[in-house]
C-alpha cells in the first residue's frame, strides 16, 4: 500500500525549460512534505519542503506546490539545468512522527 506515489518514473526536458515533477499521497495525516534529490552512489540530499499549512514554497529555481484537497504536490524547476539531472524523491512525514515516507522516485534528465 503505497502512501506516496510518483507515477512518472522518468522525465526529459530541454535545458532552460521548466521541469515539473508530480507526487500524490493518500494519507491525510501527513503534515510535512519534502523533495530530495539523489545522484548515483550518493545518499539523497534535501532540496525543499513545505508544511501542510502552506500551499507554496519557493527557493531560488525550485518551487513546491501543495494541493491538499487533491492530495497532490509538485516540484517546479525553472530554468532547468543539466546539473539538475538526478532522481527526485517526494517524501512525507506523518503528524507526530519524524520518519519519512518516500515515493519511488522520478529520474529527471535535462538535455543540453
Amino acid at each position: 500500500d503505497q502512501q506516496v506515489k510518483q507515477n512518472s518514473p522518468s522525465l526529459s526536458v530541454q535545458e532552460g525549460r521548466i521541469s515539473i515533477l508530480n507526487c500524490d499521497y493518500t494519507n491525510s495525516m501527513f503534515d510535512y512534505f519534502l523533495w530530495y534529490k539523489k545522484y548515483p552512489a550518493e545518499g539523497p540530499t534535501f532540496l525543499i519542503s513545505i508544511s501542510s499549512i502552506k500551499d507554496k514554497n519557493e527557493d531560488g529555481r525550485f518551487t513546491v506546490f501543495l494541493n491538499k484537497s487533491a492530495k497532490h504536490l509538485s516540484l517546479h524547476i525553472v530554468p532547468s539545468q543539466p546539473g539538475d539531472s538526478a532522481v527526485y524523491f517526494c517524501a512525507a512525514s506523518p503528524e507526530g512522527s519524524y520518519k519519512l515516507i518516500f515515493g519511488s522516485g522520478t529520474r529527471l534528465l535535462v538535455r543540453p
Binding site: V4, Q6, Y36, A41, E42, G43, P44, T45, F46, S49, F89, A91, S97, Y98, K99, L100, I101, F102, G103, S104, G105
Partner: protein, 113 residues
Amino acid sequence: GAGVSQSPRYKVAKRGQDVALRCDPISGHVSLFWYQQALGQGPEFLTYFQNEAQLDKSGLPSDRFFAERPEGSVSTLKIQRTQQEDSAVYLCASSLNPGGEQYFGPGTRLTVT
C-alpha cells in the same frame, strides 16, 4: 568529514550469514534513522533513535533485524541469517533535532547470494 558516513560501502554475504552495518552520524546530531532502499524503489523507514533510545522500530521487517546506538552517536544495523530479499541499499540519516532536516549517508549496498 562533516557528513554522515557509512561502512562498509558494499557488502556481499552468503545466505544465512550475519552482517553488521555501521553508521557514523554528523557529530552532535540527536536523531538517527535507518532506511532500506530496494532497487527501483524509494527508501523505506526501518527505525529511529533519539540519542541512545530507539523510539520507533515499526519498519523493521522481521526479528532478524536489530539496530542499536548504545552511546547516542554511532549506530549499527545488524541482520541475522540474511536472506536474498534483504539485498538492498541501507541508508542512514541523522538530524540535529527531532523533526529537523535529515542528512543522509551514501548507503551500504548489501547483496545476499
